[in-house]
Point group: C2
Chain length 353, copies 2
């Protein structure tokens, strides 16, 4: 009876060797390089393996071969939080499509015991894609110590930080300019959450870069960024709704809200709808990302399109190049964005106030 019961341990390469009368080496060759042994031996070994239902232990193979066959997507927060944003989901899909191509799996890595560091120390992967990482952060040194290749999305480009980004400063400049060109002057900005591990970032983070773009556009019409109210929101629908409500309570009611994230903008619209406001007549709003929902909600959202899937793909491709030692130095990829003007920002210039 070669049948396998729950109590039996799975057979190992040793069992196959013993049972087939050959050595471990021969068994290994039978599976990985049959040309190294005789046809007869190969046949016998594979038959024995089949009979004992032998499946090589992936962990042992990977350990021996010093690889994991998986890359990690490092999430700054809990999975069901980070991946709530359709933008992040699209990035995920992009990364995923490249993983398949290389025969890799994709490991989602949330913080371990609330520590991103811990998660990186323990991650069983051949490389990491991170979001919103900045130089100088502790986890950068962990990845370097582990000699783990990494690429960051929406982070701060730097010689020790391979990255894929759009030109955020320019994009947000254009977005803000559009809003201002429509005649809006009483504004409110919704920025993105503090980078949770921005301990000692030296260069400009993504929200900071976008803010710079806003500043430049604003200064052209004589508005100081410091005079514009700024809220900080997590990129989730729930937090977006929250901020929307908050804005309703402003004494100085803005004519247009500029959000750094579509999902937050949509959250605002939802809460404003609930409050009976009509958009864009009562209040205008612009977003960032051009997620699918932006063209689903009424009115369609004026936003900056950034190709999220493509971003994920490019980051993953760069990572695999590093894993395969094709590229040793740092990569920096800038991809194009598109300003998308739709109905969520009212044109105040064409009407008589």
């Amino acid at each position: 009876m070669a049948e396998q019961t729950a109590k039996m341990k799975r057979p190992t390469i040793k069992d196959i060797a013993r049972e087939s009368g050959y050595s471990k080496t021969a068994v290994s060759f039978a599976f990985n390089d049959p040309s190294r042994i005789s046809e007869k031996a190969c046949k016998q070994i594979l038959e024995t393996a089949e009979r004992l239902r032998y499946i090589p232990d992936p962990m042992a193979r990977n350990f021996s071969l010093r690889r994991h066959l998986s890359i990690g997507f490092l999430l700054p927060q809990e999975i069901c939080y980070s991946l709530q944003n359709p933008y992040a989901q699209q990035v995920l899909l992009g990364i995923g499509s490249v993983c398949e191509k290389y025969g890799y799996t994709l490991t989602l890595i949330p913080p371990l015991n609330e520590s991103v560091n811990e998660a990186v120390r323990n991650a069983a992967v051949d490389g990491l894609i991170t979001m919103g990482m900045q130089v100088g952060m502790e986890i950068v040194s962990v990845m370097k110590t582990r000699l783990l290749p990494y690429v960051t999305l929406d982070g701060t480009p730097d010689e020790e930080m391979p990255s894929v980004n759009i030109n955020d400063e320019r994009a947000s400049y254009e977005l803000m300019k559009t809003v201002l060109d429509s005649g809006h002057r009483k504004l409110c900005i919704i920025s993105l959450g503090q980078d949770i591990f921005a301990e000692k970032a030296t260069k400009k983070s993504l929200p900071q870069r976008r803010m710079e773009g806003f500043r430049n556009a604003l200064s052209e019409v004589g508005i100081r960024l410091e005079d514009v109210p700024v809220l900080v929101s997590e990129p989730t629908l729930a937090d977006g709704k929250q901020k929307g409500k908050e804005i309703l309570g402003f004494k100085e009611f803005p004519t247009c809200v500029v959000s750094m994230s579509d999902i937050v903008a949509i959250g605002c619209i939802v809460s404003w709808n609930e409050a009976g406001l009509s958009i864009p007549d009562d209040i205008s709003i612009a977003g960032f990302d051009n997620i699918d929902e932006a063209s689903c909600i009424m009115p369609h959202l004026t936003t900056v399109e950034q190709p999220a899937q493509e971003k994920g793909r490019l980051a993953a491709e760069a990572l695999f190049k590093m894993i395969n030692k094709e590229t040793l130095q740092s990569v920096h990829i800038e991809i194009p964005y598109t300003l998308i003007i739709r109905g969520s920002v009212k044109d105040l210039t064409s009407e008589q106030s």
Copy 2:
């Protein structure tokens, strides 16, 4: 100079042992069970480790401890295909939230070389969550051979197939009954894609179970299921649009389309809108899942709500019980669904034809 350069290999436990003057065992204890050695030894070892920037190799640890600290989400098709459906994304979030709780990562496992079997053979995980799996499929035997615990969602419950499901037959009966009660008689059904690995399924698959529900409701008004046109769609927006177009070409135009998936239903609506149809006046439609987009699109979709995140959570919890040997026998969980009636199905009974 204890600095680490790219060329140097990472230090191993052996290096720390040598450098600190203690044994490998002592180093291991220093990290995992300091009470087993003296404080002095522990301090010296940890200092040495710090100095040499030693990080224990996760792969080696896991291999030695016979675990992976990751569970797998087995996808029937490519990642960017399977996870396009918001329903699957929600399931993913649910699974993810449980993984975090147990300190595990979540590995997305697409088919390897187009083979789900290959993927399962090589999966470096402690357990698997699958979607739409049926008994008798080859991968079931692979999972059993590997002694890998598994739970299936939307599969065919069976003693050897732990599962989490809603009562699909009953839910679709109710959905179809609602449509029929609204007076619709000329229908079209959009079923879900063939289960791609349904080689020799013995019991009823999810689309089959839902079809049974439809059949029961239809027979009550004297319609034979066989007389209703049925399309089969992949659960993606793109394929949904495609089916929508296809329906536009029908000679016998249906008054209502009943889809087994919201995303497909939404695809139909999009393509009908493009064709200038007005919904539900020109054609009605009902879906299944109640994804977020169902209440975003106009008109809001009449559908069956199934708590996708909750499904993922329950499946993951059951899986962890099996991994931790708390449950040895098979689990079957049935969770409640809710019929949600909104504007996408026109009431034909209240109007004079």
